[in-house]
């Protein structure tokens, strides 16, 4: 198992390296970090431009810049991923990209994590129920709900939920749902119960919005996988042994039908991150979504690269975890 883990980690490294090259090249080629300075009125002097170029390492060739971005060797100490530096920002010499990301990462991960856990739970339940009641009214209804969820634009649904939250608060006459902000600062130092209430108020609506996207596809997947297993010979044998129906479903069908879901969930992480950005923007959270928008607005290439690489790394890590989980769940892989 240890060997397997090591092999998987080694296997993930080249993907990470290639991903860093891809993000770097794409952002570097398409963007002009000096665009804002150039457009400024009055027009900047040659000297100012040159200074900015030097500070942002734009005076070097692209391969050099990539090398610098990764290693930081030959830089001014503000660049080099391996040294924990994400590079200089267009948003001023004092703007630390790494620190900004670190500050917001938790906010976003909290949302992503909560949404994924709820989506997964709901997807498994509905998927299994759909499969067990194949072609029933319930199955058709759940199928339709799934299709609808797949077709809902996150941000539109977020807008509706936000409006609904406001309506609900008015009706109840109390601030049950906080519809704006992530509520991080308001609760600091408060008693534990208040902290929890505050977190719930802020997180409930965004979580519902975000879980909907992944829920739909995972539920469909779980249904298919469950149907396949229910028709398998070993489920028939389990019945033939004299096990009760619920035992067969829980012990033999569900246990095996869950295995392929791990991979699907891992691949779905990328989609959840996409959704999280949109959700955060609608609910005006100060998370990575907001960071991203600001970076784009400021043509902040290094911030964007850092952001993309980070999300790529999260997805790769998720896949790694899924692979390992798969091996734990499925003895056929474990002993390979």
């Amino acid at each position: 198992m240890l060997v397997y883990t090591m092999r998987r980690i080694l296997g993930a490294l080249p993907v990470l390296v290639l991903a860093s090259i891809l993000t770097f090249v794409m952002i570097d080629v398409t963007g002009d970090p000096l665009a804002d300075i150039r457009m400024a009125q009055p027009p900047p002097t040659e000297e100012v431009l040159q200074q900015a170029e030097e500070r942002l390492y734009l005076d070097r060739s692209m391969p050099e810049r990539y090398w610098l971005w990764v290693t930081g060797i030959g830089g001014n100490g503000d660049i080099g991923l391996l040294q924990g530096e994400f590079g200089p920002s267009t948003q001023g010499p004092h703007y630390d990209i790494g620190a900004a990301i670190a500050e917001r990462l938790w906010t976003t991960l909290r949302l992503v994590g909560a949404a994924m856990i709820f989506a997964l739970g709901l997807a498994i339940i509905t998927g299994v129920v759909s499969a067990l009641r194949q072609y029933s009214k319930l199955d058709y209804t759940l199928t339709f709900v799934g299709f609808l969820a797949l077709a809902l634009p996150t941000f539109w649904f977020a807008g509706i939920m936000q409006a609904a939250g406001v309506k609900f608060n008015q009706l109840v006459g109390d601030q049950v749902f906080a519809t704006i902000g992530d509520g991080r600062f308001r609760a600091e130092g408060a008693p534990l119960w208040d902290q929890f209430l505050n977190a719930f108020a802020h997180m409930a609506l965004p979580t519902i919005v975000l879980m909907l996207i992944s829920f739909a596809s995972w539920s469909r997947y779980q249904r298919t996988s469950m149907l396949e297993v229910m028709n398998s010979d070993y489920v028939r044998l389990a019945r033939a042994k004299g096990l009760r129906n619920h035992t067969v479903i829980r012990r033999h069908a569900l246990r095996t039908a869950l295995i392929p879901l791990t991979t699907v969930v891992a691949i779905g992480v990328a989609g959840v991150i996409d959704g999280a950005i949109l959700t955060e923007v609608v609910f005006q959270w100060r998370g990575l979504g907001d960071f991203f928008i600001t970076a784009v607005d400021n043509n902040d290439s290094f911030a964007l690269m850092g952001w993309l690489l980070l999300s790529g790394t999260i997805v790769i890590l998720a896949n790694l975890v899924a692979d390992l989980l798969y091996a734990v769940l499925d003895p056929r892989i474990r002993y390979e």
């Binding site: 080249p14 993907v15 290639l18 991903a19 891809l22 993000t23 794409m26 952002i27 398409t30 963007g31 665009a35 072609y135 058709y140 199928t143 299709f147 609808l148 797949l150 077709a151 809902l152 634009p153 996150t154 941000f155 539109w156 807008g159 509706i160 936000q162 409006a163 406001v166 309506k167 691949i267 990328a270 989609g271 991150i273 996409d274 950005i277 949109l278 923007v281 609608v282 991203f292 928008i293 784009v296 607005d297 043509n299 290439s301 964007l304 952001w307 993309l308 999300s311 790529g312 997805v315 790769i316 896949n319």
Partner: protein
């Protein structure tokens, strides 16, 4: 040809007669029949057709287009003159909706075609050659799959400022979505090339291009078509998300996502700005997903019954 009794038997035996009639159908007809029996898919097809007419033909019959007119009063709720009301800047919302749907559909179908073309070739090559070529090519695909589609596309579009034209948006989304198609095609080709009929062609001396063109691609057509259809829906949501963030199609041009984005703060005050583009977006995606589902049922040879 002498009388051999075979065709005669076909006429007499009812079982054989059925077989004969099914023999007269081409495969395409069989697929079409199976598709038409999938009711949600058929309804969706009709609905999508209507939406397409609305988006592409509608503007010719409607007084206002998507641009600002001085004679349009701002922030009017729906009325006889402006059935869907007007915006703050002085747009007719119905005119905007037509243009928005048009742009959205153009982007989505372009993405699907482009991604499918690139992805099929890439996936088929990887699958056919296998081994190290396959391992390397699929690693590249992995990289494109791990970057979140919407964010990456938005980053590039926003960064380069190329986001104003629908074709540029389509190109950027395609860069991050061809990989899904490549993965599907590669999987199909990988299993197809182990099939005995491919070996039979090789045993007769067929070359690699002959096998890919005459056996592998025609047999992979089903999954490719389904994946391409579902990609349309993905592309629509990606474009809408980008435009919503203000990083996609920009004013004075319009897209559905952008309409929602600019009406974001007006959900309860001016709902006529917020709901119509959203509902239209949902309808487009929903119909396309159902069509994809119907196609999957119709094209999958293992599928024996079509229910629902």
């Amino acid at each position: 040809m002498s009388e051999n009794g075979m065709s005669k038997s076909a006429r007499r035996d009812p079982a054989k007669k059925r077989k004969k009639s099914s023999a007269d159908q081409t495969q395409l007809q069989t697929i079409l029949i199976r598709f038409t029996r999938h009711r949600p898919a058929m309804i969706s097809l009709v609905l999508l057709g209507i939406i397409a007419l609305f988006a592409f033909v509608g503007p010719f019959f409607w007084t206002w287009d998507h641009t600002v007119y001085r004679e349009i009063p701002s922030n009017q709720p729906p009325s006889g003159v402006h059935p869907l009301g007007t915006s703050a800047a002085g747009h007719d919302v119905l005119g905007q909706l037509m243009r928005g749907a048009q742009q959205t559909l153009k982007v989505a179908f372009t993405v699907s075609l482009l991604s499918t073309a690139v992805g099929s070739v890439w996936g088929a090559t990887a699958g056919y050659y296998g081994g190290r070529v396959d391992a390397f090519m699929m690693r590249v695909v992995d990289i494109f799959l791990i970057v979140p589609l919407l964010v990456a596309a938005a980053a590039i579009a926003g960064n380069s400022g190329a986001g104003t034209s629908w074709s540029a948006i389509a190109l950027i989304i395609s860069i991050f979505s061809w990989a899904t198609i490549a993965r599907v095609v590669r999987g199909v080709v990988l299993s197809l090339r182990e099939q005995e009929f491919v070996e039979a062609a090789r045993a007769s001396g067929a070359s690699a291009p002959w096998i890919i063109l005459r056996h592998l691609l025609p047999n992979a057509a089903g999954p490719i078509i389904v994946a391409a259809t579902l990609l349309v829906a993905v592309a629509i949501l990606a474009e809408a998300g980008m435009s919503f963030l203000g990083l996609g199609i920009q004013l004075p041009d319009i897209s559905l996502g952008q309409m929602i984005g600019s009406a974001r703060t007006a959900v309860s005050t001016r709902p006529w700005l917020f709901y119509p583009p959203g509902v239209l977006l949902v309808l487009i995606c929903l119909t396309i997903n159902f069509i994809g589902d119907g196609l999957r049922d119709a094209l999958d040879p293992r599928q024996t019954r079509v229910r629902r």
